[in-house]
Symmetry: C2
Subunit: 225 residues, 2 copies
């Protein structure tokens, strides 16, 4: 499928890692332990792995639970003892991660051109609502879509299938935007045009689903359309 | 479900990491690059991630292809240039990984008691056949089961569902044995009794599916039954 850029009426963004910088979670970890980098990398890796595995097993639990379970594993694996208050503070960090510096200017430029803006995230509806409120972006998005309604995680096609009925648009009219290579591949496999925001200059994931467009920052997005 | 140990008539083993030590792949890498440890860790992580993702996306490619694709990514991500001959040699290492020191004695003891032995692996049928031939274990197994016939990867329940019809046994008569926490959880979620071989003394994965039994080496397996 070759979608023409001129057909695009809406942009649907991944949240964590694409619009929002999970570095805030690292900062929260740095407040309670000596070596936050390895810890947060393990926590994030297990969070994603558990989401994938639960979807594969048909044993959905929401992203709050998966994040909690991954924290439990990371604590045990690194012999990091956390008090209940510290655990609560670390989990709360996922609700208040800050947007990347390029996020708000890019969204404002796109919004001014009348383009529909939405989020499609593994996060729960409550996470997404608090996330946009905490970052004063509540007026920016027309739709906040969570995997929670289908009880499967990206890159299951059932997740990307939420977009068309919610937005009332066909799949060639929507550009899906993600920094996560596996998410970009999943949306492509479903049939959406995809813009991969390759923030970390990593190689393309070898999943036979190369992105339609690649950019290195959201700042390049307005010029693409 | 509480399966009685006395009901167990067959043992079904995971291959890579459970019976066979993927350290041989590290050795092959050490022959062609300066820092094999980080490389092989990334290669293995991507191999598993791609298997999970392809199953989630409904875009199966066999384990040869997934292993090749993961090698491609690992090479690009680490700026490791491989000649075609080196690439072929690294891929071939997956066909000749050696059994752990505890593997053959445990299998011989179980075999002598008339217990049915089988493998259920993400590997292709050709990989499994060459693997048991290369290690002189071809007479040991009654069944070599590959995910390839259902074109999904563990921990998709469709994979574990291969066991009962192939062996002609009910699920309480089969003990599934794996060193991979996600595989042990997947088999438990399907409803099999599971023995987790926790070789690396890692924490239990937090997937709400704790193993029925935990051991640290296959040497403990004959005494369990």
């Amino acid at each position: 499928m070759n979608a023409a850029v001129s057909d695009i009426r809406a942009l649907v963004f991944d949240a964590y890692g694409t619009l929002f910088d999970v570095a805030a979670v690292r900062q929260a970890c740095a407040g309670v332990m000596a070596q936050p980098d390895a810890f947060v990398a393990l926590w994030r890796a297990k969070q994603l792995e558990y989401a994938f595995l639960r979807s594969l097993m048909g044993r959905y639990a929401n992203f709050d639970q998966v994040t909690y379970d991954a924290l439990h594993y990371a604590s045990a694996a690194t012999n990091t003892t956390l008090s209940p208050e510290q655990r609560t503070a670390l989990l709360a960090a996922w609700y208040t991660v800050a947007p990347f510096p390029d996020t708000v200017p890019a969204l404002q430029a796109l919004k001014a051109r009348g383009i529909t803006l939405a989020i499609l995230s593994n996060g729960t509806p409550a996470m997404l609502e608090r996330l946009v409120q905490a970052t004063s972006m509540d007026g920016m998005f027309d739709f906040l879509l969570s995997v929670d309604s289908v009880r499967r995680y990206k890159p299951d096609p059932a997740v990307y299938a939420l977009i068309e009925p919610a937005l009332g648009l066909g799949r060639t009219q929507v550009l899906f935007v993600s920094s996560n290579g596996w998410d970009a591949a999943g949306a492509r496999a479903f049939g959406l045009p995809v813009c991969w925001v390759n923030r970390a200059a990593t190689p393309t994931d070898q999943l036979d689903q190369p992105p339609t467009y690649s950019i290195s920052s959201l700042a390049e997005l307005p010029a693409l359309l």
